[in-house]
């Protein structure tokens, strides 16, 4: 049975009709997840998708795995319970920028901090879609929406900054236009033991179309995307001749061959460095926008530590059964 035939990607789908708007970026994410799971050959009964509320949170209904569509912002709580109860499961969260960073902000940061072995797909379209177009905690300052007709007067969160600030061990960023990149990053997140945040720059065709266009357009993406690979120099651009170097405490974009810059001056990406300083700067970089796995650091997971502690107590305890406990200490007998 161990050598069961690999499921095809579409076999990870449920029979439910997918009801996202035509052209929504979520379709590509769904496809990427199914392909990643297929390539990793994870039996679908071992997969559990948990979500909160929002367009992207309909995700579990479209998967043929186990799934739980919960309440707004609380998916990390539900998923944490699932993982602690059944650590053999591959547990995933599908959540939006409102779900994770507004109403669920508290759960988001604490799940990251604990490093429980769960993968969180953060669908960031910088807008509230399901409630038809209000600004979100990732909408840029001044954004005009139905609930901010005069422009917002609040600064957005940067999901990378928030994640790394919450002691994230795995943070990656992908775009919904690049299925291949999503598959690779999702596979890496699944194989990483710990809480993995994948920020997906996702397009909302109806309420916030082209919000990520600068990064995703064919014409502009080469100059605006920095595809990070661990151990590789941070080079980008249509001619792959631009790069990043450290200037004091800041990142600086430089061009190879100009002012005596050679490839040796270019920073090499180290996702596995426990010191997050450079990864933090990369996650906040606006132009180019860093994509790929920004941080991936091995550490003890919460579920494993909890399990180990129980096992240790089992060995150490003077109690071997509940009867031992009930009869321990001060008791008295009436005959």
């Amino acid at each position: 049975m161990e050598d069961a035939v690999t499921l095809k990607p579409k076999e990870y789908a449920s029979t439910q009709e997918v009801k996202w708007c035509p052209g929504c970026g979520d379709y590509a994410v769904l496809k990427a997840v199914q392909m990643a799971l297929s390539q990793l050959n994870i039996p679908k009964e071992k997969v559990t998708f948990v979500s909160g509320i929002g367009c992207s949170s309909r995700f579990p209904y479209y998967m043929g795995s186990y799934g739980f569509h919960s309440i707004h912002g609380r998916a990390p709580g539900i998923a944490t319970g699932v993982k602690i109860a059944n650590p053999d499961l591959s547990v995933w969260i599908a959540s939006g920028d409102g779900d994770s960073l507004a109403i669920g902000g508290n759960h988001f940061i604490h799940a990251i901090r604990r490093n429980i072995d769960i993968n969180l797909l953060l669908f960031n379209n910088q807008i509230y879609g399901l409630t038809k177009g209000q600004y979100s905690p990732t909408s840029e300052l001044g954004k005009v929406t139905k609930s901010s007709p005069h422009g917002t007067v609040e600064e957005p969160f940067s999901p990378g900054e928030l994640s790394i600030g919450s002691r994230s061990r795995f943070f990656a960023r992908v775009v919904d236009t690049d299925v291949k990149m999503m598959i690779e990053v999702m596979k890496e997140a699944e194989q990483h033991r710990g809480f993995s945040v994948i920020e997906i720059l996702q397009n909302c065709l109806i309420f916030n179309d082209k919000t990520h266009a600068e990064v995703t357009n064919k014409e502009t993406k080469a100059d605006n995307q920095l595809l990070l690979e661990h151990g590789k120099p941070m080079l980008f651009g249509a001619d792959n001749n631009k790069g990043l170097r450290l200037n004091g405490l800041d990142l600086e974009v430089v061009t190879l061959g100009e002012n005596g810059i050679s490839e040796e001056d270019i920073l090499v990406h180290d996702a596995e460095n426990p010191n997050p300083s450079l990864q933090f700067m990369l996650s906040n970089l606006k132009s180019p926008l860093a994509l790929g796995v920004i941080r991936k650091v091995k550490d003890t997971t919460y579920d494993q530590a909890l399990h180990d502690q129980r096992e240790e107590e089992k060995q150490k305890s003077k109690f071997k059964s509940l009867d031992d406990l009930y009869l321990s200490g001060n008791t008295f007998t009436v005959n």
């Binding site: 569509h69 919960s70 944490t80 602690i84 499961l89 109690f319 009930y326 007998t333």
Partner: protein, 611 residues
């Protein structure tokens, strides 16, 4: 030594500053008393501040114990012996003094400043305001200091021992052995033998002092109670709840999961369970109340017996998630250790005012099962009962306990695991006949499926479910049908719970109705009147929704019915709405305090005598 043995039961109260160690002195006395085999009931009463202002009435911490050979159903009304470690402790109990009771005071603490701080106009030991009481002026602080002066401890450690002086005196008064307490200190401070020695010495000094002074009443021996044969131990309600949950998981053959956030007065359940990781219990202290219950719902989905524990304000936060558990029809035990409300209310005081919240506090038509525990040790069986109903009927169950029984204690007859009934979770086994929302014919419960099981992959969530398939459905007829099905499922629990019992003759002038943790006091009050030949009966509810099948019958044949509860009439409203043919009179107390037998009996006598 002269001894008396004709006393049936005695009430002692230790009162002092919240840093004076009254809770420790009280629980050590309880422990020895339990071991002697007395009936007992305790009631700790302390301020919510960790160290409230020194010497003030607000900062007084009390521990009351009622123990005896028989007739102990509750911690009792006023103490026979009050130990007041300072003027504030005396002041706090000023209006609750039993005529001719014994008052032991630490006379060293009665400085003019302390007396004024407590709110006395003059020194109550010097005027005649305590003339009707037996006041023992013991120099507790100074004798504590001199008895261990040669140990070389700092002043703070020395003064901390004075609670043991009081304990030693009380041990002498009731002729109880010191050995158990000596062993306790030797074990607790095995690495600090000097501290152990100091405490033991001070306790012996207090013991000797009591024996020496003639002012004290003679030493009294309280004979052990006549109890059913078995092994007993003293237990608080919170401990009993924790142990009951452990037992339930074992009998249901599931792992126990607790997802919770600390809140007074429920936190001790977390403290207790976390000691028992050896048993396999999985404990998640969440970032807030919401994550606490959500993690429990996730664990339930994944197949664990899942529990969340909280109190009123935490319940409020969990509301939306309880609705999710109702919609997804997952088993879940929610323990609410009630305290005084609304809002933050009275965190350390007792009340029964979260009943409406338990019954109705959710959006939509959202029925669930509501149970309550009646005494500290009944928390054990009701925790099992809540778990059993949850996993056999696939529903969230709220178990209401309350501060009074959660912190109070009484002897519990140990139940070994083999003596407990098996629990049969409603697990899916036959894939052919299974759908996510297909139901058991008898209970209407859907099947519990454990993720990881091949073939049973399915999705659930908070959106309305289509009957049988569990797919999302917005169809009007389906919604109406599902609302009815969820209601019927909870209603059918009635076939699986015991009938309501009545203490007393069938037809009576007055039926007293109670619920929850006030059982002992109500029982004691009614028993007393029954002994006097009064035409009174008593029925006490542990199953609040659904109500037992014979409830209507129980209410028949009584001239008057009075519902006694620590709130503004919530259970009376609940009963009145379901049984409009009866008139439910109310006796409510909303002071953050339990009932007193005396006040209940006064009320019952009025009701009995009124035309």
């Amino acid at each position: 030594m002269e001894t008396k043995t004709d006393v049936e039961s005695v009430i002692i109260k230790f009162a002092g500053d919240s840093g004076d160690g009254m809770q420790l002195a009280g629980s050590l006395f309880t422990s020895t008393t339990a071991n002697i085999g007395n009936q007992l009931a305790t009631f700790p009463d302390f301020p919510s501040e960790i160290r409230a202002p020194h010497g003030t009435v607000a900062g007084v911490s009390g521990f009351q114990i009622h123990f005896g050979t028989s007739g102990v159903y509750s911690p009792g009304d006023e103490p026979d012996v009050l130990i007041a470690m300072n003027p504030a402790a005396l002041k706090a109990n000023w209006t609750h003094l039993k005529p001719a009771c014994t008052i032991i005071v630490d006379v060293d603490s009665f400085s003019p400043k302390a007396i004024a701080k407590a709110g006395f106009e003059g020194n109550p030991l010097e005027d005649d305001s305590l003339a009707d009481y037996k006041v023992i002026e013991a120099p507790i602080t100074s004798l504590t200091k001199s008895s261990i002066a040669d140990l070389g401890l700092d002043n703070k450690s020395v003064v901390r021992c004075k609670n043991m002086f009081a304990l030693g005196m009380v041990f002498w008064l009731y002729n109880e052995p010191l050995e158990q307490t000596i062993n306790f200190f030797n074990k607790k401070f095995s690495s600090k033998p000097l501290i152990a020695e100091a405490n033991i010495t001070v306790m012996k000094t207090g013991h000797n002092f009591a024996e020496t002074i003639e002012a004290l009443p003679s030493s009294t021996t309280i004979a052990p109670a006549k109890k059913a044969p078995g092994t007993y131990r003293n237990m608080t309600g919170n401990q009993a709840t924790a142990w009951g949950l452990l037992a339930a998981a074992k009998k249901a053959n599931r792992d126990l999961f607790l997802g919770t956030y600390p809140i007074t007065p429920a936190t001790d359940i977390l403290h207790e369970l976390t000691k028992h990781k050896w048993s396999g219990v999985k404990i998640f202290q969440a970032e807030d109340e919401i994550a606490g219950i959500c993690s429990a719902i996730g664990a339930s989905f994944a197949g664990d017996l899942a529990v969340t524990t909280t109190s009123g304000p935490g319940m409020a936060l969990k509301t939306e998630a309880i609705g999710l558990a109702i919609m997804t029809e997952l088993p879940l035990v929610i323990v609410n250790v009630q305290r005084g409300g609304p809002s933050t209310g009275l965190p350390t005081k007792t009340e029964q005012s979260d009943l409406n919240q338990a019954l109705f506090g959710r959006n939509g038509d959202s029925p669930l099962v509501v149970l309550s525990a009646s005494t500290p040790s009944s928390c054990f069986e009701m925790a099992i009962e809540a778990s059993r109903i949850a996993v056999e009927h696939m529903t969230p169950v709220i178990l209401l306990t309350e501060s009074y029984i959660a912190n109070g204690s009484e002897p519990w007859k140990v139940k070994l695991i083999d003596e407990l009934e098996e629990i049969h979770p409603n697990t899916a086994d036959d894939l052919e006949s299974w759908s996510p929302y297909s139901r058991d014919e008898k209970t209407l419960a859907r099947k519990w499926v454990i993720p990881g099981t091949p073939g049973f992959e399915h999705r659930i969530g908070g959106l309305e479910k289509e009957d049988v398939t569990g797919n999302v459905s917005y169809l009007p007829e389906n919604h109406a049908n599902m609302i009815q099905l969820r209601d019927d499922k909870v209603a059918k629990v009635v076939d699986d719970i015991p009938l309501q019992r009545v203490k007393g003759e069938k037809a009576n002038r007055l039926l007293v109705v109670g619920w929850g943790g006030q059982f002992g006091i109500l029982f004691g009050a009614v028993s007393g009147l029954q002994k006097e030949g009064k035409d009174i009966a008593f029925t006490h509810f542990n199953y609040l929704h659904p109500l037992p099948k014979n409830t209507r019958e129980v209410f028949s044949n009584h001239d008057r019915i009075v519902v006694c509860e620590l709130n503004n009439g919530q259970f009376a409203d609940h009963l009145q709405s379901q049984f409009p043919e009866f008139k439910f009179e109310r006796y409510n107390k909303i002071q953050g305090l339990p009932f007193k037998i005396k006040e209940l009996q006064k009320k019952f006598n009025e009701l009995l005598e009124e035309k």
